[in-house]
């Protein structure tokens, strides 16, 4: 078993109203960042997992996202990185 550090992004599904992202985008426009087309605010989770391999760590994380870490109705997740600790 090796310990892996896995980073996951969970973001609101595209097309769903994201008032938090819109509020941040509006604030950035107020600051003069006129080029900001859109903002989506989500969660970044960092897990440390004991797994047999990198793909095992990835698969476990994917299951965790499906069952708890993301809501399949309203959110998408992406495993951003997996690295041995």
């Amino acid at each position: 078993m090796t310990r892996y550090r896995v980073a996951v992004h969970v973001v609101p599904r595209r097309g769903l109203l994201d008032p938090q992202g819109k509020a941040v985008a509006d604030a950035l426009h107020t600051l003069g960042f006129a080029g900001v087309a859109s903002v989506h605010v989500g969660r970044h989770l960092v897990l440390e997992i004991d797994a047999h391999s990198e793909s095992d760590a990835r698969e476990q994380t994917s299951n965790m996202c499906g069952r708890l870490l993301a809501n399949p109705v309203t959110e998408d997740f992406e495993i951003a990185s997996v690295s041995a600790v």
Binding site: L16, L17, P19, Q20, A23, L68, L69, N71, V73, T74
Partner: protein, 230 residues
């Protein structure tokens, strides 16, 4: 009739639910601790409002894995009634008892206010004591009440008469300001396919006596009594 009211860490509507059943209607009620595995032979389960597990991760996401929830899901699958209020509604959605999800209010503000609702289905187990299309007033108190689901689910809910309550303008309200959270199709409460689970963001248990500003919540519990006792 015996009601079971689940207390999760962070529930704050459990006592109000108890009072509405015991003081409001003179029925029996017990508290069910989230770590218990035993529903104590209750006829009706109430999932109360509050902030279970501090709303960590997502409202209701962690509470749905509480030991008692396995029994609550089995109770619902047997066709027995579950009334899921506010945070209870969020938990019921996370647990798959009801479709969809409750997202952050469109205004990003926590809203605590009486709201006007229209009874869309006055023949369900939970709403038969209301008149069809009756306008009622119930309090809301939530930050994550924007009901969301895909279009197909919304069409199915409407087609099958499973929208129990909608936010609706009362005589004094402007047409554009009556929906307090931006919920899709103004949905405030829905039924499951079997009609034995009602999830709603407004708080009927806080509107059981005119002294509290409204007694419009009492017919929900009366409806359950009529149907389940029948």
């Amino acid at each position: 009739m015996k009601f079971g009211i689940v207390t999760f860490p962070g529930s704050n509507g459990d006592y109000d639910a108890y009072q509405s059943v015991v003081e409001g209607l003179g029925e029996k009620a017990v508290y069910l601790w989230h770590k218990d595995h035993d529903l104590q032979h209750v006829d009706v389960v109430i999932l109360p409002g509050g902030f279970s597990y501090g709303d960590y991760l997502r409202a209701g996401a962690i509470a749905r894995f509480s030991p008692i929830m396995r029994e609550v899901v089995a109770h619902a699958e047997r066709g027995a009634p579950v009334l899921a209020i506010c945070n209870g509604f969020q938990i019921a959605c996370e647990a798959g008892l009801l479709p969809g999800a409750l997202l952050r209010n469109a205004s990003l503000k926590f809203v605590c206010a009486p709201v006007s609702l229209r009874v869309e289905n006055a023949s369900s187990n939970f709403t038969s004591a209301y008149g069809a299309n009756q306008l009622i007033t119930l309090p809301i108190a939530h930050g994550d009440g924007r009901y969301s689901a895909d279009e197909e689910t919304l069409d199915r809910l409407e087609g099958d008469g499973r929208v129990a309550f909608r936010y609706a303008p009362d005589a004094l309200q402007a047409a554009e300001s009556y929906n307090p959270n931006g919920s899709m199709r103004d949905i405030a409460g829905i039924l499951n396919a079997g009609g034995n689970v009602l999830g709603m963001m407004p708080h009927p248990e806080r509107a059981i006596d005119s002294v509290l500003g409204s007694a419009d919540g009492l017919p929900i519990i009366e409806s359950i009594l009529h149907r389940v006792a029948a």
